[in-house]
């Protein structure tokens, strides 16, 4: 009991510690040099992680009963307050965010060395960690919304960190604006929730979902889904993520791989008791998830920037998580979130190490044969590639296979969805294989004499993340349902889709392993052994289709061009027309019209003042006649 009372206050510490660090560093920006900044921020991150781990263990010992803390009540009717909660779901996110924050900050101390805004970077970083923790530890929609918005803000600050580059500033704007579109959906969803339930508290809402009409639930789910699409870069709100690669690589590793983009997934799992009642919303989620996964995977196969491949890969894997949510497999979605966080962060940090050693060269066509020069980086990134392709026993296999199996088990049209998801898994293996081979294996003959292995502060996080990528999959295998036990209390009202049993499961597993292997083998044939240069493609009439595929892929199916034309240029033209026509002609015109009417009428009236006596006599006569007429018409004195 003594532990429980303290737990309530202790688990709040990791939330506010990064915030205090951010403020502390911000106030002393001019005083500190790099060493002191590194000291403070790393220690605060480590402390946060330690406290988070302690809280999680305490929670586990208590069988994952949720711990709620209400700081103060703002309005009583409707019931809106500020509060935090620690349960299985938020506990997992807590240790994930704090742990990754520490590892990536360690990497950043070396990556951002000698940068002139070194201290600012860590201010923004810690502020981001604070906002992400606000989001995941919230016990009601209001605090979650605060976290949601602040995460968008921190992402903007970090993407446009090197603000002197115009591309970085534009990318930051684009991310914020597209996020805003999603937030518009989120806000409307919140309004409907407040109107229906009269409170924002999760537990009160999620316990009482039985009596609400399905149309209301569908409406809420659809609007919140729109918010999730904006934050997690699903179709059609995904184009900000590849552009967000303008920011520093460690920031991309944390935000756009592991934490911010998973906020949408987290939110949807949080409201899963509500979401499960709306078939339409679930169907739409899985359809959009599939479209996103396939589209992003297709675009990734011919990208040339080392980080853009990883960006499209992230979008594609987020699509997988949304597929899982749409199929009702909420545990699988969180599982894939966790495993993806590790190997994607690993891949991004590895890419950061490569960029650093190649003196900020980012085009993979100019790299090649770096394996001998950077062995640790190469092997760690190889582990990441194998993990994301779904090769057992690494982490990605367990989570991806669970998603695919859960989709299959629903039957009917979900067989088609399963086939398409399998295709996306195949493409994943293919482009990741291409990525690794082009960087590390093929020797293009470029001069790489001064490239050497990355410094220890960069390789140590890589090693750590590599080890985790190998072993983290074992937390939720078909033999040991660890994650399910963690999330059991959170999802107790939810109908979670379970895996099929017996021979079906084994066949599905073999098929997904097969897809992964096939992708890697084809990538090896094309980019490792240069098979396409040895076969005469013209003989098989394959040259122009392949060129078409290459072109469409690298330009993301020209979606960006279309969006730019329609939204950006279209809005500019519309606003110009409105400015000219409505403002200039109508409003200004009517005001000017009044004044010119005055002028003209006074000019006309002044022509009667001729200065000639005889004219005035005529006027006099006319009025005299008028008076006579009046006199005749109206008798003054009654007879």
């Amino acid at each position: 009991m003594y532990q429980e009372v303290k737990l309530e206050l202790i688990f709040l510490l990791p939330i506010f510690l990064p915030f205090l660090t951010a403020i502390f560093l911000f106030l002393n920006k001019k005083l500190f040099n790099e060493l002191i900044t590194n000291f403070f921020t790393l220690n605060s991150a480590l402390l946060s992680f330690a406290i988070a781990a302690y809280s999680f263990i305490a929670l586990a010992l208590d069988k994952f009963k949720p711990v709620n803390v209400e700081l103060f009540q703002w309005i009583s009717n409707p019931d809106i307050s500020i509060g935090f909660t620690l349960d299985g779901l938020s506990g997992i996110m807590l240790i994930l965010v704090t742990g990754l924050s520490f590892v990536i900050q360690l990497f950043s101390t070396s990556y951002m060395e000698k940068d002139e805004n070194h201290c600012n970077y860590f201010v923004y970083f810690n502020f981001f960690v604070f906002s992400m923790l606000l989001l995941v530890m919230s016990s009601n929609f209001l605090v979650m919304f605060f976290g949601w918005e602040l995460v968008g803000l921190s992402s903007y600050l970090l993407i446009s960190f090197w603000s002197k580059k115009p591309a970085a500033a534009k990318a930051g704007n684009k991310a914020f604006v597209i996020n805003r579109v999603g937030d518009f959906g989120f806000l409307i969803g919140l309004m409907i929730i407040l109107d229906t339930f009269n409170t924002f508290d999760f537990y009160k809402i999620l316990q009482n979902t039985s009596g609400i009409a399905e149309s209301t639930i569908t409406a809420i789910s659809l609007f919140l889904m729109l918010g999730a699409f904006g934050k997690s870069a699903q179709f059609p709100l995904f184009s900000w993520l590849p552009d967000a690669m303008e920011g520093p690589t460690p920031a991309s590793a944390l935000i756009h791989a592991a934490t911010m983009v998973t906020a949408g997934v987290f939110m949807l799992v949080r409201i899963s008791p509500l979401l499960q009642h709306s078939k339409i919303a679930s169907l739409l989620i899985i359809i959009f998830g599939l479209i996103t996964a396939l589209l992003a995977a297709f675009s990734a196969i011919n990208q040339f920037d080392i980080k853009k491949v990883l960006a499209y890969s992230t979008i594609s894997q987020l699509g997988f998580m949304f597929i899982a949510i749409g199929a009702g497999a909420y545990v699988a979605a969180i599982f894939h979130l966790v495993t993806h966080a590790f190997f994607k962060a690993l891949l991004f940090l590895g890419a950061g190490a490569v960029i650093h050693s190649m003196h900020h060269e980012q085009d993979i066509r100019k790299m090649g044969g770096l394996r001998k020069k950077m062995p640790i980086t190469a092997s760690m990134m190889g582990i990441g590639t194998l993990a994301i392709s779904g090769i057992p026993p690494l982490a990605g296999f367990w989570s991806k296979d669970e998603i695919l199996a859960s989709v299959f088990v629903n039957g009917g049209i979900y067989y088609v969805f399963w086939a398409l998801a399998l295709g996306a898994a195949f493409l994943t293996a293919f482009y990741m294989g291409r990525h690794w081979l082009l960087i590390f294996e093929k020797d293009n003959g470029f001069e790489h004499s001064d490239v050497k292995e990355a410094p220890k502060a960069m390789t140590r996080p890589l090693l750590l993340l590599g080890i985790f990528s190998i072993f983290i999959g074992f937390i939720n295998t078909p033999f040991f349902h660890g994650l399910e036990k963690v999330l059991h209390v959170t999802l107790e009202n939810v109908e979670v889709t379970h895996l099929p049993k017996g021979i079906t499961l084994v066949v599905l597993a073999v098929l997904s392993i097969g897809a992964g292997f096939t992708g890697l083998i084809i990538a090896f044939l094309l980019f490792g052994m240069e098979l396409h240069k040895r076969i005469d493609l013209k003989k098989f009439k394959l040259e122009s289709p392949i060129n078409l595929v290459k072109d469409l892929s690298s330009n993301v199916l020209y979606l960006n061009k279309f969006g730019n034309l329609f939204f950006v240029s279209g809005m500019k033209n519309l606003s110009r027309k409105v400015a000219v026509v409505v403002d200039g002609m109508l409003i200004d015109g009517s005001v000017n019209f009044v004044s010119t009417a005055f002028n003209k009428s006074s000019k006309i009236t002044s022509t009667t003042q001729t200065g000639l006596v005889r004219n005035y006599v005529v006027y006099f006569g006319l009025f005299l006649l008028l008076l006579i007429v009046l006199f005749i018409a109206t008798p003054l004195v009654p007879r």
Partner: protein, 175 residues
């Protein structure tokens, strides 16, 4: 019968004189027409029992004012050609318009009351002769204040006339 004659004869003379005033080309003819009107008016005043006023009109108006007019006509020497052409645009149109409206108004009033203009107050039978004694009795008792004012007005008018028409150059060159 006699009354009708006493009315119509001076009345026609008045109308003819007025028409001469506005239509004559030679300004002396205009002045003569005006004199004819004024004298006929005096006759009509006598038939209306305003004898003193008639005499004063004959003396002041037809005597002094017209003489003044003739002096100025002789001095200025009006050009006959100027009289006929109309120089203001649209004046003819406006004038004919006003004239027509006036005539139609008068005709309307005349016809709608069947040529019997019904005055609101009936005539009082008391026949007041406008003798000088009667007028003086009222003028110097009830209307004494306006009387003093118009004598002041006459002095002012005289001074104004001298001030306006005074030609300093000619006076100095003569003297």
């Amino acid at each position: 019968m006699i009354e009708a004659l006493l009315f119509f004869a001076p009345a026609s003379l008045i109308i003819i004189g007025a028409l001469i005033v506005i239509f004559a080309k030679n300004p002396v003819h205009n002045a003569m027409g005006l004199v004819m009107t004024l004298v006929s008016l005096a006759i009509i005043y006598i038939t209306l029992n305003a004898t003193f006023v008639a005499m004063v009109q004959m003396l002041v108006y037809a005597g002094a004012v017209m003489t003044l007019f003739l002096f100025v006509i002789m001095m200025i020497g009006v050009d006959k050609k100027e009289q006929t052409t109309e120089s203001i645009k649209g004046q003819t149109f406006l004038v004919s318009g006003v004239f027509l409206i006036l005539i139609s108004l008068l005709a309307y009033v005349a016809i709608s009351s069947d040529f019997k203009w019904d005055l609101w107050f009936p005539p009082v039978e008391f026949d007041a002769e406008g003798t000088p004694q009667l007028i003086a009795g009222v003028l110097f008792t009830e209307w004494i204040f306006p009387f003093e004012i118009i004598s002041l007005l006459l002095i002012v008018a005289t001074a104004a006339a001298i001030a306006l028409a005074y030609d300093t150059k000619k006076r100095n060159s003569n003297a």
